[in-house]
Amino acid sequence: MAKISEYLGGSAVDNVKKAIVAAKSVSKYNSLLELCEERALDLAAKVDAGEIKGRLAGVPFVAKDNFLTFGSKTTAASHFLENFEAPLQATAIEKLEAEGAICIGKSNLDAFAHGGSTENSAFGPTLNAADETRVAGGSSGGSAVATALGVVPFALGTDTGGSIRQPASFNGVVGVKPTYGMVSRYGVVAMASSTDTIGCFASCAEDAELVMDIIAGHDDLDMTTLPDYFDPTTLDMPKRVGIIKEFMSDDVDEDVRNATRTYATKLEASGFTVSEVSLPMLKYTLAMYYIIVPAEISSNLARYDGVRYGVRAETNDLNELYGKSRDQGFEAENKRRIMIGSYVLSSGFFDAYYLKAQKARTLLINEFNKAFEDYDILMGPVSPTPAFKLGANSSDPMKMYLADIMTVGASLAGLPAISVPAGVSADSLPIGVQLIGQRRSDALLLAVAKSQEGK
């Protein structure tokens, strides 16, 4: 893996060329859908000429292909947007470019970020960086694998229910899902607006911290962004850590549990107190998540109608235009979620499903708040298992959804959560441990992760 510091001070053009060579050499992993070679080299030349300066001057990165970017298409790994060229860039991309970072390519994902393995990509799955027979995790699988393979020192992803944390865990890199509202969602293809967050992958917590520091902040173009608060410089180290009891049951892979306990022991050795905490509402989070998120998906994906951009079916009938364009443009998982979402929002069911789920979500938030009266940080595994085999869960959506059980809670509550590497399984598969903090405690989580690296 590569560190940001290795790229600073040298030739930006060389950095970009090196990253592009590396990207091409690992093409069998299918982590990148498109390289923006020409634009990247143009920007690199500007950095080398001193026209662009900044904290990431000349540092290459990749962005999940649901970020609107110049220099390449933005497909969301869907047939629908297979040829879509964005007329503007996401706020996060603009902020990174303003600091001299250079996007060299767009990474693979589950189409429209619907999935947890990157197998739902319209352009084929991404292979796990540690084991090519296994999934990369998802939906930001391409970004995780590109980082793990050292193609780039960091990558952007989105996390709606675990889409950064879980692939980070599966590939042995740091993955950051910020507090909801810390990073602008402007210019990122929307999945579920109330839990969508923009975050990053990096080889270490320090690099992730730098990237988050750059992309964080209020944005007038996203009303849900919070006032600026991310500040990694003035921190009181927290001391009380709670291991979430519900995430340590016998259903969870033993290697995963052991890795989590080992990390806890290291924390104790560093002066943290660690004890078990129970959050009974967590067992309802999957039910809440798979009502609220599909509802928002069905709404956010209504714009893909074949009228203005993207796939447009050949027909003279308006209803057929909608039906056929959407049929051709969406993957099976997209359709499944649109149907679930349309169902739970339909008249007569709205109260029973959507409203009830929102009420349960409030109870969950209250329960987290209560836990944070006694603990500074909650911890647990990221996923019940290490990376599973390609195709193992593809035919069983319920099984696939169950793999999200440990990540959706923080998403529903809008909490920051990071995945940090915590060893490997007996099969040498990476295992991540998840640290969850109170809203706006993003910098604290990263500080704790930093304190444990190399121990």
Binding site: N66, F67, L68, T74, A76, L81, F84, A86, P87, L88, A90, R185, Y186, G187, V188, V189, A190, A192, S193, S194, D220, L221, D222, M223, T224, A295, E296, S298, S299, L301, A302, R303, D305, V307, R308, Y309, N316, L318, Y322, S342, L345, S346, S347, F350, Y354
Partner: protein
């Protein structure tokens, strides 16, 4: 024979006079623009775009609330209403289904007979407009200039019971919204559109009949005519023993008829959902009061203020048809009192033709000039006829009333000596002798002839009353 009663509720869409659209920075004025010229990526429904609520739209809604005598919600929210149509790029309209900004209120609409009808407002919500489709044989074109234009939809209670009341309500709503600065009120460009819900039931019946909704009426007259037509149509159905179908109907202004567009069975499930991209709008009472304090005087204020002037209802209507007239007459009233105000009011009412379209003519309205003019008439310096001539010129002139009267040589001569000379001259004229004889023998009407001669000789400037007095003194 059964007598039937009509019950009407009106939903009125008011286009807000904001600089930009409800959720994007695109220009909100689509008039005279090429199709799709004012469309931002947000309006276009591009992937990754997020709505940013226009603060000015909220401010105008708060002002509208004052005009509607309505309470403003301290917390309101936006929801998504889903349906597929090419004029709706995101596949949902952002509206306020559950927690609107404007709560219950009322409007008192004046009727021609001098009375008024009170129409309660259920609520009014803020929402975005859709674009426009044009159909050409086997293809259609989409224009998104209007997509995202801010509207408030004012929903009345079914308190209206005649077509005349429906029109009166629509007209009053228009005045209120224009006066409060909420909308430009240009009906021709669709700034206000009315959906009229009409049902009929036997008089005294405790239940309302099935209602038909006539959509998209854009003039007061069509509101009135559509209500009239629907009353007749629905009564005829009931008389024949048939049923009124709950449906949406369109209005054809040329034929003066409504026709079925969509029945309730075709009603869509809009799958309403709170919009997760837009945080709740929280307004403190202090902020609401501050915004509403800038709302100018509204029609009811003027009606009250002029109630003792002794002017006709038609004059009041004519003045209120143009907010600037109402303001200037009110200022005149404040500065120079009721009698001067009455005179000026009548000039406005008789001089300017108004219609339901907002006039684009800009008048020069200087209260002091109107006061001066009225005082000149009271002092007999101008006749009422010549005063109107001066008034008309004042509306577009930078001169004072006196300057205009002087430059047009209209000032009446009230100098007794000067007029007496003319009187003597006329009485000595042989052509006047017959009239002089007639008057002496008791035919008083002949004096008019003599006064006319004097006016002629003085080129219209002699004060006729004074001239008459001088004639009588001499005969």
């Amino acid at each position: 024979m059964t007598k039937y009663e009509i019950t009407i509720g009106i939903e009125c869409h008011v286009q807000l006079a904001t600089a930009t659209k409800l959720f994007s920075p695109a220009d909100n004025d689509a008039r005279d623009k090429e199709p799709n010229a004012v469309v931002h990526p947000v309006d276009y429904g591009l992937p990754g775009m997020l709505p940013v609520l226009n603060k000015q739209a909220v401010t105008l809604a708060i002002k509208a609330g004052k005009a509607l005598n309505a309470k403003i919600a301290n917390e309101s929210r936006f929801d998504r209403k889903h349906y597929f149509y090419p004029d709706l790029p995101t596949g949902y309209q952002i509206t306020q289904m559950y927690q609107p900004t404007i709560l219950a209120g009322y409007v008192d609409a004046p009727m021609e007979d001098g009375g008024s009808v009170r129409v309660r407002i259920h609520h009014a919500h803020i929402e975005m407009d859709a674009g426009k489709l044009s159909h050409y044989g086997n293809y259609s074109l989409v224009d998104l200039n209007r997509a995202g234009t801010p509207l408030i939809e004012i929903v009345s209670e079914p308190d209206i019971h005649s077509s005349a009341e429906a029109r009166a309500y629509a007209e009053e709503l228009h005045k209120l919204m224009v006066y409060a600065g909420v909308t430009n009120g240009d009906l021709y460009h669709g700034n206000m559109r009315f959906d009229v819900n009409i049902s009929v039931a036997p008089e005294g019946s405790s239940e309302l009949g099935k209602r038909a909704e006539v959509k998209n009426l854009n003039s007061f007259r069509s509101v009135e005519r559509a209500a009239e037509y629907e009353f007749k149509r629905q009564v005829a159905l009931l008389e024949k023993g048939e049923r009124v179908v709950q449906e949406t109907r369109g209005w054809d202004d040329d034929s003066g008829k409504t026709s079925s567009q969509r029945s309730k069975e075709d009603a869509q499930d809009y799958r309403y959902m709170p919009d997760p991209d837009i945080p709740p709008v929280r307004l403190t009472d202090e902020y609401i009061a501050e915004v509403q304090s800038s709302v100018p005087n509204l029609p009811p204020y003027y009606r009250e203020k002029w109630s003792n002037l002794g002017i006709d209802g038609s004059v009041v209507s004519a003045l209120l048809a143009n907010q600037a007239f109402a303001e200037v007459v009110s200022e005149v009233q404040g500065a120079a009192g009721d009698s001067v105000a009455k005179r000026v009011a009548n000039w406005f009412a008789s001089s300017i033709q108004t219609d339901e379209h907002t006039s684009t003519v800009v008048y020069k309205l200087v209260p002091d000039s109107f006061v001066e003019l009225a005082k000149m008439v009271e002092a007999n310096e101008l006749s009422s006829t010549t005063a109107k001539e001066v008034f008309n010129e004042l509306l577009s002139s930078n001169k004072t009333a006196r300057e205009i009267a002087e430059s047009k040589n209209l000032l009446q001569v009230s100098d007794e000596g000067a007029i007496a000379a003319i009187v003597d001259e006329v009485l000595a004229d042989p052509a006047s002798q017959k009239a002089v004889e007639d008057i002496k023998s008791g035919n008083d009407k002949a004096i008019g002839f003599l006064v006319g001669q004097i006016m002629k000789k003085s080129q219209g400037k002699a004060n006729p009353a004074l001239a008459q007095k001088l004639i009588r003194e001499r005969l």
